[in-house]
Amino acid sequence: MTIDIKTMNVEPRRHTFGHVARRLGSDKPASRYEEATLDVQPTDNFHYKPLWEPEYWTYDTRKTALKMEDWYKLRDPRQYYYATYNIARANMNQSVERNFAFVDKRDMLDQMDAEWRAVVADYLLPMRHVAWGANMNMTSICDRGYGTAITAPSIFAAGDHLGMAQILSRIGLMLDDSTGDSLEAAKTAWMGAPHWQGIRKAVEDSLVVTDWMEMYTAQTLAFDGILHRLVFDRFDAAGQKHGAAGLSMLTEFMIEWRAEHEKWVDSVLKVAAAESPENAAMLSGWAKTWIDRVAEAARPLAARVLGDVQGKGGASDAAITEIKADIAARCAKIGLAV
């Protein structure tokens, strides 16, 4: 006797949500990213206007001067939604934990010269406050932005900055044997040391920018672009002569994060600039203003850490010029003129 195994195929009535199918053009299985992103934000029938800004609705395209015909064009090439984002970051954080354990076990931070230890405490730890500003800005973009395609990855980026601030705090605690003194000193430096005041002013001014797309350009291109390159590339390289290899392991997260973050940033700005010449001009203007501003603000810090006099064509001036050239090349690729 033979047994004939039959399979029955039940065709689902629909493969995805109606609003997603309308965007995809037909009813076919959509990815989780598409289902968690496309047209998720409400667009109509809000009950009350916000009391604090009665000229706008809760979600309002007029909160930026930028015009997009479809705000869901600003998609994330990494296709992050809650689960994929968390899985990716959990993996990255695992290597952070391993690196911290490795450095701790071998007392690698003690290999650093005493003078360089002081320099590190002076340039690296106050970056916590820069990261906090970045966290505020990305949160604000999520709040004021339009369309889940841009607001969801923005709040993820806000989380990233918070995580990076925590990494910096842990480095501080490793440097001062968990007394927290180095973090107190970093706060004092952030609030009062002359070489930090330009950056602090720029960060604080960016907090109150009301146009969220300007804020996005300022935060991602200028602050993340310039300060991360300066601190985690240039200063880190300068530290190698002083035995700071252990420190590089602890800030490796920032390098990995930046490579991935900039893929998203470049894609968003590229699509926004390609929408219309007005958009491109507007984004270019914001980019130029903020890149120049942050680069100028970073000069005193660069001069202090790289150990030369600002404006004399030394290592720090070269570093800032090269970083600006890097960012200008990126901007040219995505259609911005800076």
Binding site: T7, M8, V10, S31, D76, P77, R78
Partner: protein, 90 residues
């Protein structure tokens, strides 16, 4: 008699971009939808390109990851960093 090069993948979120990439890169693929699986047949040769899958999933992809969603295949395997091909060598 023509011989089909064939690959059967799970019908999951992870495999769907790969299936799409195969359909885009290979002409005249016969698609057989089964419960939970998709069988793709093509005369002689069928190829999965790394670049086309990466374009769809937005991250770097190693052709070896194919094995996580692979159910069955037919043909001689030709594996490289940039593609995974099944072909009946003459």
């Amino acid at each position: 008699m023509t011989q089909y090069a064939s690959i059967t993948l799970q019908n999951t979120d992870d495999a769907r971009p790969i299936i799409e990439a195969i359909l885009a890169d290979n002409t005249d693929v016969q698609v057989l939808n089964m419960p939970g699986a998709v069988k793709l047949d093509r005369d002689h040769r069928i190829v999965v390109n790394r670049a086309s899958v990466e374009e769809r999933i937005g991250r770097s992809w190693d052709p070896q990851e194919l094995h996580l969603v692979l159910i069955s295949m037919a043909g001689n395997v030709d594996e490289d960093d940039d593609y995974f091909a099944l072909e009946w060598k003459k």
